[in-house]
């Protein structure tokens, strides 16, 4: 037993990490005993830059906070501004927001699954997952016109309509996706993946209740989902069946995401069935002032926006609280007393989105 510790650094540039994040771990006998996380490499101060801009430019700016979950950023922004200017979007616009949000959740969870399977070292499976993700991106491109920043949301409504032809294509694509996801769920819970991911990175329920949000919290048994508990858009009419796990390890987080993905497919189908056939989707905005807060359930957890608009109708203050900002605080607790070989897979299990987490802080 040697008592000497050494330092192990991961990042900021690493081919296993998509984004720059630095993790400095103190290691004793290949066991992690202290962790420091630095995640300010891609801070662009969008909140500061948005000050003095008008509310329509804000939609464009806020969409560029994150590339994976851009719709989950424009939705709370638009909802907060709509609350200030007293303008409710039409029923149809609310349903379209739900459909796009769930499609986005599907592609985000598939991307996380790709990263995990790529790290574990399966040969053809990651490419297969990317291919099924491409099918979802094609659906999003058909709706919004772009693969990543679709720009569906507008203040007071949405920009694009869903007709019967597009509806049929989405249903067809989702049916195929459902079969593939069940296959992935079988593979994830198979013996070799289970051996790699079980009983590591344990997050207790008490800690999860205090800090974590989204899938990491739900995998530890915290029964909380904004889509059901504080419904926005058309979620109260569509209905959500929240998936829960109680183990709280890496394995449970990965399989919970896949179960959520299957539930997202069901939600999208239900929303497509109940979509009203009016043509009233675009909103006409008026100018108002005041402040409002709105929160949505992004693919990674709760995303909260607080906005203040001055008398000229310009943005005075924009506060963003992203899910990864909360989940990174859990990282130290779940990495302690773990083997160094498991560092990367535990990091990926909370699905970190660094460009979301780099935020401007008002003091």
């Amino acid at each position: 037993m040697s008592r000497a510790t050494r330092e192990l650094t991961l990042g900021p540039l690493d081919s296993k990490l998509i984004e720059p994040i630095q993790i400095v771990a103190r290691v004793r006998n290949s066991t992690i005993c202290d962790v420091n996380v630095r995640a300010n490499y891609v801070q662009r101060n969008i909140e500061k830059f948005a000050q003095g801009k008008d509310i329509f430019t804000g939609v464009f700016l806020v969409e560029r906070v994150c590339g994976i979950c851009s719709h989950a950023h424009t939705t709370p922004y638009c909802q907060a501004v709509e609350r200030i200017v007293n303008q409710n979007p039409s029923e149809q616009a609310k349903y379209i927001r739900v459909i796009v949000a769930e499609l986005e959740r599907i592609q985000s969870h598939l991307l996380n699954l790709f990263e995990i399977v790529h790290l574990v070292g399966k040969n053809h499976l990651p490419l297969k997952i990317l291919k099924s993700r491409e099918a979802i991106l094609d659906l999003l491109e058909m709706l919004g016109g772009n693969r990543v920043h679709y720009g569906v949301n507008k203040i007071g409504g949405v920009r694009c309509d869903i007709n019967t032809k597009i509806k049929q294509k989405i249903v067809k694509g989702l049916e195929r996706e459902k079969l593939q996801t069940k296959e992935y769920l079988g593979l994830i819970e198979g013996a070799d993946m289970r051996h790699r991911m079980e009983n590591i990175g344990f997050l207790p329920k008490e800690k999860a209740k205090d800090v974590a949000v989204g899938p990491p919290a739900r995998a530890s048994g915290v029964d909380f989902d904004l889509r059901r508990d504080a419904p926005y858009a058309a979620y109260d009419k569509v209905g959500v069946d929240v998936k829960l796990r109680t183990e709280g390890d890496v394995m449970s987080r990965a399989s919970l995401r896949l179960e959520e993905l299957l539930e997202s497919i069901e939600i999208t189908k239900r929303a497509l069935d109940r979509l009203p056939a009016s043509k009233d989707i675009y909103g006409v905005s008026e100018i108002g002032w005041g402040h409002a807060t709105s929160r949505v359930e992004a693919p990674r957890g709760e995303n909260r926006y607080s906005i203040q608009i001055d008398e000229k109708g310009l943005l005075q203050k924009l506060g963003i609280r992203t899910p990864t900002y909360s989940n990174l605080r859990v990282l130290r607790d779940i990495l302690l007393e773990q083997n160094t070989d498991d560092l990367e897979i535990i990091l990926l299990s909370i699905d970190p989105c660094v460009s979301c987490a780099c935020r401007h802080i008002y003091i």
Partner: protein, 175 residues
């Protein structure tokens, strides 16, 4: 007789002959114009098209993940992502350069010989709308850039096109 030139150019004159430090900006320009390609690429180093996967070195210098996930979608087509810059064929830089990322970018690019740099996405080309004290500017403010791939974000097909353009100019290998 040795006369020293400014340190930033990293070259010196001996008996009227110009010697250029490998990896210096001048050297990199020479490589790119193709004047010295024959000396640089000996038979062992020259890689025939289709012999191995193209190796990519990816740097996120402050992007929103949009370009990065499109870059990582290239692994479907047989591109490899490497950690070591010395074995990389091209460098893909995504995003407007942020303040904490600029020294890392400069340190990394000092290690390269003549690996072409590709600016992926509108942020890397112009910095789009981002400004202020935290965003310093586009990528070509810090390093000479070979190819610009437009789009917010560009499609994987367009990035592939950019990579093949960069490799054809350098003469190392083709996509």
């Amino acid at each position: 007789m040795v006369s020293m030139t400014p340190h930033s150019l990293r070259c010196f004159l001996i008996f009227g002959k110009l010697f250029i430090h490998a990896g210096s900006p001048l050297h990199r320009d020479w490589m790119r114009t193709g004047k010295k390609t024959k000396e640089r690429y000996s038979k062992e180093q020259y890689i025939c098209p289709g012999q191995r996967n193209t190796r990519l070195f990816h740097i996120n210098v402050g992007s929103c993940n949009g370009c990065d996930i499109e870059v990582y979608a290239l692994s479907m087509f047989g591109y490899e992502f490497v950690n070591d810059l010395t074995v990389a064929d091209v460098i893909l830089a995504c995003g407007a350069v942020t303040k904490p990322m600029s020294p890392i970018l400069e340190q990394t690019l000092n290690k390269t010989q003549n690996t072409p740099v590709i600016a992926v996405g509108t942020c890397a080309i112009s910095g789009i709308v981002f400004g202020g004290d935290k965003v310093l500017g586009p990528v070509d403010k810090f390093t000479p850039t070979e190819v610009y791939v437009f789009g917010c974000p560009p499609r994987p097909k367009e990035i592939m096109q950019g990579i093949s353009m960069a490799l054809k100019r350098g003469g190392s290998c083709y996509v």
